[in-house]
Symmetry: C2
Subunit: 547 residues, 2 copies
Amino acid sequence: MDISQTGAWRALEAHSREAASFNMRRMFEADGSRFDTMHETLHGFLFDYSKNIVTEETLQLLCRLAEAGRLKERAAAMRAGEKINTSERRAVLHTALRLPADAAPVMVDGENVVPQVHRGLDRALAFAESLISGAFLGATGKRITDFVHIGIGGSDLGPRMAVQALEPYLKKVRVHFIGNADDSEISHVLKGLDSETTVFCIASKSFGTAETLLNAHAARAWFREQGRAEADIARHFVAVSSDINAARNFGITPDHVFPMADWVGGRYSVWSAIGLPVMVAVGESRFRQFLAGAHAMDEHFFTAGYRRNIPVLMALLSVWYGNFLNADGLAVAPYSHGLRRLPAWLQQLDMESSGKSRTTDGSPLPFRSGAIVFGEEGVNCQHAFFQLLHQGTRLIPCDFIVPMYTPCRINRHQRFTVANAFAQSEALMRGKTAEEVYAELAALPEAEREALVPHKIFPGNRPSNSFLFDELTPFNLGMLMASYEHKIFVQGMIWGINPFDQWGVEYGKALAKTIEPELNRDLPLHHDSSTNGLIAHYRKCSAERQQ
Amino acid sequence: MDISQTGAWRALEAHSREAASFNMRRMFEADGSRFDTMHETLHGFLFDYSKNIVTEETLQLLCRLAEAGRLKERAAAMRAGEKINTSERRAVLHTALRLPADAAPVMVDGENVVPQVHRGLDRALAFAESLISGAFLGATGKRITDFVHIGIGGSDLGPRMAVQALEPYLKKVRVHFIGNADDSEISHVLKGLDSETTVFCIASKSFGTAETLLNAHAARAWFREQGRAEADIARHFVAVSSDINAARNFGITPDHVFPMADWVGGRYSVWSAIGLPVMVAVGESRFRQFLAGAHAMDEHFFTAGYRRNIPVLMALLSVWYGNFLNADGLAVAPYSHGLRRLPAWLQQLDMESSGKSRTTDGSPLPFRSGAIVFGEEGVNCQHAFFQLLHQGTRLIPCDFIVPMYTPCRINRHQRFTVANAFAQSEALMRGKTAEEVYAELAALPEAEREALVPHKIFPGNRPSNSFLFDELTPFNLGMLMASYEHKIFVQGMIWGINPFDQWGVEYGKALAKTIEPELNRDLPLHHDSSTNGLIAHYRKCSAERQQ
């Protein structure tokens, strides 16, 4: 089905022409109850979407679009374990990873996955706790002080962000990450480690991710160079993978391979054993709270009506801007140093899921799908790219994510930060007219005043959402992350794409395999002249070095 | 002058309709010399722009646009110290900060600034070297081990990025940064410090930046709580500021205030005394190499003809995509862990400079200006947002920044990383046709093969630039950063905006001053219902906490 041929889509197209005259400042002035009807709360989490270029009619039309996209039905199919990732023929069950142990069965290929999820979770948590308590010792009998997680993409961004975000809850074992194939990262991490007290975790669903194996072998070589025996590898290397044999060939005992089901996508995997670094960092009870937060958002998503459903509203607004008002992307501004890598995590989650130009049945998409997602921690972002949000020529909605309290509780700092987040959404929405600027500049000579006015005008009417929560607890982090996961699912269902595959990442990897040996051997080159030229330049630099 | 009314702009509009049929893969096949005519080298730096949706005619038309924008004249005006930042009535002379001591005079308000630049530079470098050598001791006679730079925005992003990038050149004094007003950052940094061996640097041109003063006062309070005397502040706090009196009131001796001229904009200030953390991190000779690299790019920019001018070509391509081919933004992928914060630095540089919707004379811009700039280190980005670049529905050019060598020199890692960067630009350009995919999937049953083909097609024809250099040395870092600075200047001159002001950052700050006291006092609220609602929610959380 091409959703752009439905009445709901056409109604939005017509409505979007009216929307050119919508003005949020006037709408707020005309309707004192706008905030009341356009915000939702859930377990202390507040989602304010009243500062958007929408009327109640827009929201109703968007809900009709959700209806036309058979959203309820599709969400139910995901929840029930149907193979909605059609191009890879897989179920999509990150929500099952967050179910309580006594939840109703979720059947995949005739098997209830809930007990399997909890067996895996209990095993991974028990291992994490054994590192924390010191019950698990290194090969030379020493307590483990450092845990190094080696993974990339989905095996890296979620856990890395979550460990940073939960810094106030950290336990004793230091957790490090190695992602990139640039050797600076691994060199930097290894420098500070003691091989007798370090455990490495190799996180790769297939145990075949090139970068991860490169780093795993480098870590293994380092471990041996530090004087550790080959036999000690079994004690100091563990894996998160669905390929137990490949892990065993590396020297890891099956007891220390934590499996991943095939229905867990990489970018949704922090809730699975890929979350092991989070478990080691914050311990069992905090990790269970993290899962509980995500589950609370799942329950809301699966049960609330469209008009009051937080992830559904997030997605519908995004479709409204992207497909009807020509927005270029989404800025994400977490006013929280702990959440400084949330935008990077979200970039993968959204852009890898939504960067598709074919529908699930293979037809070309007749409209635009995913857009750029970017962001930096607030208040820093105010001093960086916010100029363009306020006075630029492009429509870029912004998500403000604002914990009311920081763990350190320097009161002035915290109020300053929160006040700035609120003020930015106010400024973006209100704008400042030529008359207002003119009045402000009363102290200047007339000519100067006239000249300066245009530069200090703010067009306003620039949309944002605000997400408020008490403090960045594991529970709240879980809710926040799950809300974006479901948002991205909803967008995908409306567009009719498969948000769960990522064929676009394969081609470049394959080409790199051709190029790599060409760099240091004098093989004939059959690429375009640019790629040939780049390889030749590398060879030239390389030859100069070797002289 | 409205450049969109010139013949050059109209010719590009007409040409852009032809460009819909340009296909890079076919152009490379048809012209074996494409790389030869579309790359430039400079001091070992290679800029390959052949993988762009352009013909030689496009480039000629773009050069005509540069002509129409009187680019040469404007660049000369900047270089000569004219007050081209008209709305703030200031000269723009970051290029003067990189001039050799014996350079021809650059006159501002009747004074040659070159000797003044070198006096400032020598003083800052001498101070940095005195920390490194141990000639400068703390108040209790101990050697300084840690240097904490407190600044935000332009006083933070450039130095923070440069210190990371130059990690292999680090000397003895550890350098830390505190930017955000979120107290988590300052708490984290202070935790690891000894007040007797730490020097704090307060970096704020006006000595009035709210976040910086908040952190400066918190650092000062911490210093006193650690048992240090009030009199010791003069030995442990220094400033980079143009307001010596304000710094003195804080307790800083004039000898330890490193001035900034008013013609240095925040986002161009890493070359000034704001670069003090870089000087302390890598020492005098490396810092001078960093300046020399930038100066080499300046010389090239000011002298090369448009058609062979690296920053001019970068900017013209960006205008081509943004104004004629409807691009949404620019992805920046440094294949270098050291450059992981380059995108954040560039975000401010570009989006704060280009996010304007008025021409310098105050008229509304009749076309779009700055776009989203975003990015992450490669290869990580391949596992995050590259799916959307390859198979999404939007045009997003990409800059690949690729050092040939990493300092650590694990050979396999380095070749893997370089091969991947080259392969990504090849894949984006070439794409993969339905026929090619079909042939690849020969092993599958026919129905499955047919179903999978559309999902594995890559449209190709997606543009990128590649920047290659031998290694991430101070000189190469300087060249790279300066090339982007000039690119952004050129864009701005073509659009006719002022890329040197940033009025858009003021409004939100002012509104925050109203909101902050409202958060913890029961004042009546006069905002829109959303902002009122957010403040009320904060008060409610706050009241619950206090119970």
